[in-house]
Symmetry: C2
Subunit: 309 residues, 2 copies
């Protein structure tokens, strides 16, 4: 028997995953889960790849602001673009959410869906993480990739359920996670149908925000896009609590896991012990109450990043 | 070689399907389509199963009105429920769309998603079609099931893209079409997240209509839910035109097919030649201009209905 999770240290977290998968997929087991019910949902940022010092998609949006300003220099005088273009990290870091959404709307609209996908693809091919000096798609967590592969090998259908944009994540989900585009649930902007000059049907991205896939919207969007209650759910932040509770609330065997970022040496430490953590002390208490598995990146993971993109 | 489409008569429609699948899945073929791009979308009502004399889901909604009236007799005096409960077929047939949507909203809300699914399941198990005296899930078109199975066997991922409700169709899509719930795209109502008395997370259906998956909303919803332009698209009505045009507008090999209901003896005849047809003369002209395959149920299909549910 080869180890299905070679990047995990032996311990309760690894043991919990292996035991759960074995018990839910062995015929005759009291915890057996029918194949069509085997749905596993994974948050992305902070659960599958690095989300510090900023969400990758926000960095892409900032890059697109500079592309836009090259074509329309007047933007340099208009906020919030002016702040982004200033390169002043402290000021950029203080941009409030509505201003960030304005930047996302402006940089994620006005083109066909194919042109947008190409822009994401091109940026991801070269942009590097400021600390790790690697492209972002190489900063995927190897232990979590192994979990995805392991549960899929046991008949689970894996989905990304992310606060990030569907159109952004879908450009690399197949290559990086082995997850087809239609198994990516995320935030979405408006899409308009029209015909191009040659009469061909095209879809164009418009600036309207349709939904933000976070907090209680995660279970709602899981129902709208997947149509089943997940049996396994993986997250790392307060925004994932409702998704894990939705998984927990179903009948039969249930598996909920949170990734605790406690490894400042190899990645970052920003768990409940830090101020302003996206993983609050209340979530840690909820995890303990529900017997959810909390993974220590420091202790449970032999390595952090995927060996290759 | 066994015939992959045994319920199809030899002729141009069958030949077109077989040729397209062979050419797009043979390595080295100039029309080869990469496996991840192999997306096939199927309308449901009138394309996969009978839609006359009324949409099956509307008949379910009418049944639910009688269940509601049993619990709340005052409904018998309130329109449009009064008309539905009168059993006056002519009056019911004249209910305008906003009144029908009112009935759907009232009968498709107020319960958890699981309770709703069970109600649909129970009704489908016994309700019979007025003419064919069979349960509705036996009134699926055998030749179209064979197309689904054939393209799937060649690496295409099949999706239902229907004006019907996702939550309705998903109760039987796996059993009847072999299509998992998450590969059903349809109209959808609001979903609310809350906790039940025992503290478990539940989703409840609310009466708000989120989107109607018809006409140009079909390609938009395909993008939102699937994230790829289909290579093959199947429909039977004006409401499917935009979906077929979206399939047509992509690069490389493309396959568009319309089912023409021209068989009053074995099913119904309500094509462009009839007044008020959902398949207009304009759509027939568009199909000819685009070289879309138009299937004659009368001439192309050896049998109509699935041999078993």
């Amino acid at each position: 028997m080869t180890d299905p999770l070679p990047s995990w240290n032996d311990g309760p977290a690894k043991q919990a995953i292996v035991t759960f998968v074995r018990e839910t997929t062995s015929e005759g087991s009291p915890k057996f889960v029918e194949p069509e019910e085997r749905i596993a949902t994974f948050d992305q940022d902070g659960t599958m790849w690095v989300e510090q010092p900023a969400y990758t998609q926000i960095l892409f949006a900032f890059h697109q602001v500079s592309v836009m300003a090259d074509n329309d220099p007047k933007l340099k005088d208009v906020e919030p673009f002016k702040t982004v273009l200033s390169g002043d990290g402290a000021a950029i870091g203080k941009l409030p959410l509505p201003e960030l959404l304005k930047i996302v709307a402006a940089t994620h609209s006005g083109t066909t869906v194919e042109v947008f996908q190409q822009a994401v693809h091109d940026w991801l091919a070269t942009a590097q993480h400021p600390r790790f000096k690697r492209v972002y798609t190489e900063l995927v967590y190897q232990p979590m990739l192994e979990v995805m592969q392991y549960v899929r090998a046991n008949g689970y259908k894996t989905f990304i359920v992310t606060g990030g944009g569907q159109d952004f994540v879908r450009t690399y989900s197949e290559r990086v996670y082995g997850i087809p585009r239609d198994q990516v649930v995320g935030s979405a902007g408006g899409i308009a149908f029209s015909y191009d000059k040659s009469g061909k049907a095209v879809l164009t991205k418009d600036p309207k925000l349709l939904w933000i896939d976070d907090k209680t919207a995660k279970p709602v969007d899981i129902h709208l896009m997947i149509g089943r209650r997940p049996v396994m759910a993986f997250g790392n932040a307060d925004g994932d609590q409702a998704m894990l509770e939705y998984a927990e609330g179903g009948d039969g065997a249930r598996f909920m896991m949170l990734v605790h970022h406690d490894d400042a040496t190899r990645e970052y430490a920003y768990g409940p012990e830090s101020a302003m953590s996206p993983f609050s002390a209340a979530l840690m208490a909820r995890a303990k109450q529900g017997d959810w598995v909390v993974v220590s990146m420091k202790n449970d993971w032999k390595c952090i990043f995927a060996r290759q993109s």
